[in-house]
C-alpha cells in the first residue's frame, strides 16, 4: 500500500558544536581561545628575549628593546608574558584531557553497571568531592612536589569525579533508552555498548563539561603557581608572574597586569565556549527532538 513515502526532507540537525558556533558568545569565546592558544604557540618564538635573560635594572619601564619594561628580576616582561602561557595551557589541557577521559569512563561504567560497581565508584567520587578543588591539588602538590606530572595528576584527580557524575547522569538516561536494550538483546559486549552506543549519545554533556573543567583547570593550575607551586619556578608562568610582580605594581604594573589580563581573557574565553555549548545543549534538550 505504501510505495514511496514522500517525506518532506528535514535537515539533519547539525552537531552541538556547529549549532553552538552560531551563537555569538561561542564565536567570541572560541576566537579568544584560539587567539590565546596561538599566543602560547607563537609567543615563545617571537619573544625578543629568553625568559630568564637579564635585560636591565629591575622594575623599570621605558627600556629600549623591552616593550613592557623589566620585571622584579630585570627580565623582559613582554617576553615572559609571551612565554608564560604555554605551560599553564599545556598542563591544564593535559589535566582536563586525563580527568575527562577517566571521569567519562568511570561515569559510563557506573551508569551501565548500576550495582555495586556503581555504588563503589560514586562513593569514591564523594570522597574526592569532599575536597575543594584547589585544596586537593594543593595538598598533593605541596606534599610531594609540583612536577608537571603530579600537577596534571592532582588536577585531573579533582576533575574526574566532577566529570564522572555528569556523564553518569547523562548516561543513565541513555542506558534506559531502548536502543541500548536493543543492543543488549543482540548480545553486544558491554564495552562495545559503552563506547559505541552510550558514549556517542553523551558527547553533548561531555563537551560542555570538558570545556567547563578546562576553565577550572586553568584557574587551579594558575592558582597553584600563584601560591608558589609551579613545576618550574624559574620559568615564565602567568600565575608565578602575578605573585612575583604584584608587590611593585605601582611602579611597574605590567609584570602583574599582563598576566592578570591574560588569565582572565583565557578563562573568560573558555567560559564563553562552555556557556555557548551548554545553552545549545539545554535548547536541544528542552526543544525535544522527535516531535
Amino acid at each position: 500500500m505504501i510505495t514511496s513515502p514522500e517525506v518532506e526532507q528535514i535537515e539533519k540537525p547539525s552537531g552541538l558544536l556547529r549549532t553552538a558556533l552560531r551563537l555569538k558568545r561561542t564565536q567570541i569565546g572560541l576566537g579568544v581561545l584560539i587567539a590565546m592558544i596561538g599566543l602560547t604557540i607563537v609567543g615563545p618564538i617571537i619573544a625578543p628575549h629568553s625568559q630568564t635573560e637579564f635585560i636591565d635594572m629591575p622594575n623599570s619601564l621605558n627600556i629600549p628593546g623591552a616593550l613592557f619594561g623589566t620585571d622584579y628580576l630585570g627580565q623582559d616582561v613582554w617576553s615572559r608574558f609571551l612565554i608564560g602561557g604555554r605551560s599553564i595551557l599545556l598542563l591544564s589541557m593535559s589535566a582536563t584531557l586525563l580527568g575527562t577521559t577517566v571521569g567519562t569512563f568511570l561515569g559510563l561504567l557506573a551508569a551501565l553497571t548500576k550495582n555495586k560497581t556503581d555504588e563503589f565508584i560514586m562513593r569514591i567520587f564523594d570522597v574526592i568531592l569532599s575536597f575543594p578543588q584547589i585544596l586537593l591539588a594543593l595538598l598533593l602538590v605541596s606534599m610531594f612536589n609540583a612536577s608537571p606530572i603530579l600537577t596534571i595528576l592532582a588536577v585531573a584527580l579533582s576533575t574526574t569525579p566532577r566529570v564522572g557524575r555528569i556523564i553518569r547522569g547523562a548516561a543513565l538516561s541513555v542506558v534506559e533508552r531502548d536502543f541500548v536494550q536493543a543492543a543488549t538483546a543482540l548480545g553486544e559486549s558491554r564495552i562495545r555498548i559503552l563506547f559505541s552506543e552510550v558514549l556517542p549519545n553523551v558527547t553533548g554533556p561531555l563537551l560542555v563539561e570538558a570545556s567547563l573543567r578546562f576553565t577550572y583547570s586553568i584557574a587551579t593550575i594558575a592558582s597553584l603557581a600563584f601560591l608558589g607551586f609551579a613545576p618550574d619556578p624559574t620559568a615564565a608562568n602567568w600565575g608565578t608572574m602575578i605573585q612575583e610582580n604584584s608587590a611593585v605594581i605601582v611602579i611597574q604594573p605590567w609584570g602583574a597586569v599582563l598576566p592578570v589580563i591574560a588569565i582572565a581573557v583565557l578563562t573568560i574565553g573558555t567560559g564563553l565556549c562552555s556557556d555557548g555549548l551548554s545553552r545549545v545543549l539545554a535548547g536541544i534538550d528542552r526543544g525535544g527532538k522527535g516531535e
Binding site: T52, E53, F54, D56, M57, P58, N59, Y72, L73, G74, S142, A146, L227, G228, F229, P233, T234, Q243, E244, S246, A247, V248, V250, I251
Partner: protein, 534 residues
C-alpha cells in the same frame, strides 16, 4: 640562616673602631642628613600604638635566647635586653645594656655587674641569680642555641659573686668575649624562664612586656611601667603583625594599616620612596646572601669547580639584577666593617669566562660532561630566590653549556627540609651583618653549610688561636691566612653585600638612621626610643 652568636674581640675593638671610621663615608648616606641635623629636635610625645609588620608564619616563635626568623628577632628585642649593647660603631657599650661593668684580667674569668634597681616585667628586681640562670640556659649543651658557645662555656662555669655580680669562667681564653655579651640573643631572663611554647608568660626586662602572641598572626606588647631607663619607653603598646608575603606587608604599609615594615624587598624601594608618607631606613653594614656549594659533594669536590663558578659570574650585573644596584660588590668575602676585611687585598673578581672554562676543563668538565647541579632557594624571599635564578642564568649562559644548573624555589618548609639537608649540594642562605670572627664561627661551627674546611685543613685551630691572641698584628696575620684559605677553597659565593631596607611611616619618630647589626638601629633600641607624632 641568621645566627645568634655574637663575638667581638675586646682587643680588636679599638682597631675596629678605626676601621669603622674609615668606612664612615660609606655609612654617611644612611646617616642623618644635614637638614635633619639642623632642624630643632622635637620633643618626644608619649602614648600610642606602634604597629610593626613583618613577614612571618606559624613558625614564628619566642625564646629569649634563640631565634629562627626575622619576626622572632623583633619580638625578642621588644621584651628582652642584654648586658651590653653595640653602639653605632659596633662597639659594646653599657649605655643601653643592663650591666654596670664588665671586666676580665686574663680573658678567662669574666665579671659582670648589673646596674641597680632594674626590674623584670613582674616587678621582681634583677639579681645575679637571674644572670647565672640566663648564662646557664644559654650554654646548656642540650640546647639548640649553645653550639657556638660550647667551646668556651658550660653551665658549670657560671657562678654568683654577690647579689648584683656574676662570674663566667671560660674553658679557653677569649679576649673577645664582650662581643658575646652584647649579642642580641644573650639576654637576661629571670630564674626559671622557659620559652613561649612552654610558658606563655614571657618575663624580661625590656621596655614592653608581652600581652598576647599568636604565631603567624601577631603579638601585642604593652608598656613596662617600671622600666629602668627613666622617661622611656614612650609608646603604650607595640604590636608585631605577621604577613604572608612581602606584597601583603607593603600593601599594609601603604594602606596605613601598619606603621613600620621590617625588611621590605629592595624592589619595593622605588615605590615606597615615591610615597610621601613613608620613610626608608637602609642598612649597608654588610648583610650577605651566600650561595652555598657543598665542598665534599659532587660536582664541587674539586676546588677548581668552585673557583670557576666564582669567575663565571658578573657580580655587577647580579647586583643590578637582584638588588637594583642597592648593595656593594663582594669578593665572596664578608664582614666589610671588620678591620681585617680583605686583609690580603685581593682585587675584585671580574667575570673571567676564559679562565673559568679552563679551570672547568682541567677539572674534567666539558659540554658533553657538564657541571650539573640544582640550586635551592626559599620562594618567599626575592633576595634569595632572585639571586639563585639570576646566578643560574649567568653561569649557564657564560659557560656556554659546560655548566647546566637549575634553580628550584621551595615553597614549603625550606629551612627544615632543604636547607643543609642531606643530598642537597647547592642552596641559599643569608646572614645579618657581623664582624669577621662571629661570622666565621657561624659558618664553620654553628651552620656548617658548605662543609668547609676540608679535612686536611688547620683553619679551625687557627681560629681558636686568633681568638685568644692579644697581639693585633699577630692576630691580623692569622686572619690573613684564614681568609686566604677561604678565598681559594671556600664553598660560598658571595657576589655582593645587600643594603637591607625597612620602611616606616613619617609619623614614627626616634629612629636613628645609622648602620647597625639589626634593622632600624636595633629597632629603635628595643622600641624605647620610638614615639609617634600624631
Amino acid at each position: 640562616m641568621e645566627q645568634n652568636d655574637q663575638f667581638f674581640s675586646e682587643v680588636s675593638r679599638r682597631n675596629f673602631v678605626k676601621g669603622a671610621g674609615a668606612l664612615a663615608v660609606g655609612f654617611g648616606a644612611a646617616g642623618l642628613s644635614p637638614l635633619q641635623a639642623l632642624a630643632a629636635p622635637m620633643l618626644p610625645k608619649k602614648g600610642g600604638l606602634l604597629r610593626v609588620g613583618v613577614v612571618g608564619d606559624v613558625k614564628d616563635m619566642l625564646d629569649a635566647h634563640y631565634i629562627v626568623s626575622i619576626p622572632d628577632i623583633v619580638r625578642l628585642n621588644v621584651g628582652f635586653e642584654t648586658a651590653m649593647v653595640y653602639d653605632e660603631n659596633f662597639k659594646p657599650t653599657y649605655k643601653d645594656g643592663l650591666a654596670e661593668e664588665v671586666s676580665t684580667k686574663d680573658g678567662i674569668n669574666w665579671i659582670i655587674r648589673l646596674k641597680k634597681g632594674i626590674e623584670f616585667h613582674d616587678g621582681k628586681t634583677v639579681t645575679a641569680d637571674d644572670l647565672v640562670y640566663s648564662w646557664q640556659r644559654m650554654s646548656d649543651p642540650a640546647a639548640k642555641h649553645s653550639k657556638a658557645l660550647r667551646p668556651f662555656l658550660n653551665p658549670a662555669g657560671v657562678s654568683k659573686v654577690d647579689n648584683r655580680t656574676a662570674k663566667l669562667t671560660l674553658l679557653q681564653a677569649n679576649a673577645d668575649f664582650m662581643v658575646t655579651l652584647a649579642g642580641y640573643t644573650s639576654t637576661v631572663v629571670p630564674v626559671g624562664y622557659e620559652n613561649f611554647a612552654k610558658n606563655p608568660l614571657q618575663i624580661g626586662t625590656g621596655p614592653y612586656k608581652l600581652k598576647s602572641f599568636t604565631p603567624g598572626v601577631e603579638s601585642t606588647h604593652v608598656r613596662h611601667n617600671n622600666y629602668w631607663d627613666s622617661g622611656k619607653p614612650y609608646l603604650d603598646e607595640v604590636r608585631v603583625l605577621s604577613f604572608a608575603d612581602t606584597t601583603a606587608l607593603t600593601n599594609a604599609l601603604q594602606g596605613g594599616q601598619i606603621d613600620v615594615a621590617i625588611n621590605v624587598p629592595i624592589a619595593m624601594l622605588p615605590t615606597l620612596k615615591k610615597n610621601r608618607k613613608l620613610d626608608i631606613y637602609s642598612n649597608s653594614a654588610g648583610k650577605i646572601t651566600p650561595i652555598c656549594l657543598v665542598i665534599d659533594m659532587d660536582p664541587f669536590k674539586d676546588a677548581r669547580t668552585r673557583q670557576a663558578l666564582k669567575m663565571l659570574i658578573n657580580r655587577k650585573n647580579l647586583m643590578k639584577q637582584v638588588l637594583s644596584g642597592n648593595g656593594r660588590l663582594s669578593n665572596d668575602d664578608y664582614s666589610p666593617a671588620d678591620p681585617n676585611y680583605n686583609s690580603n687585598k685581593y682585587p675584585m673578581q671580574e667575570q673571567d669566562i676564559k679562565g673559568a672554562l679552563k679551570l672547568l676543563a682541567d677539572a674534567g668538565f666539558s659540554k658533553s660532561k657538564p657541571v650539573v647541579f640544582d640550586l635551592k632557594a626559599p620562594d618567599d624571599d626575592a633576595a634569595l630566590s632572585g639571586l639563585a635564578k639570576a646566578f643560574v642564568e649567568q653561569v649557564n649562559t657564560a659557560s656556554g653549556g659546560v655548566v647546566k644548573a637549575t634553580a628550584t624555589t621551595v615553597a614549603t618548609g625550606y629551612w627544615d627540609t632543604t636547607y643543609m639537608a642531606a643530598g642537597v649540594n647547592a642552596f641559599m642562605t643569608y646572614y645579618n651583618p657581623k664582624p669577621y670572627f662571629p661570622q666565621f664561627s657561624g659558618m664553620v661551627f654553628s651552620y656548617p653549610e658548605t662543609h668547609f674546611p676540608e679535612p686536611t685543613s688547620t683553619i679551625k685551630d687557627l681560629y681558636y688561636k686568633a681568638l685568644g691572641e692579644v697581639d693585633v698584628k699577630k692576630r691580623a696575620a692569622m686572619v690573613s691566612r684564614m681568609q686566604k684559605e677561604e678565598h681559594e677553597r671556600g664553598g660560598y659565593i658571595i657576589p655582593y653585600f645587600v643594603n637591607a631596607a625597612d620602611s616606616f611611616s613619617k609619623k614614627v619618630q626616634g629612629i636613628n638612621k645609622r648602620n647597625s647589626a639589626l634593622p632600624l638601629d636595633y629597632y629603635g633600641m628595643h622600641f624605647k626610643n620610638i614615639w609617634l607624632d600624631k
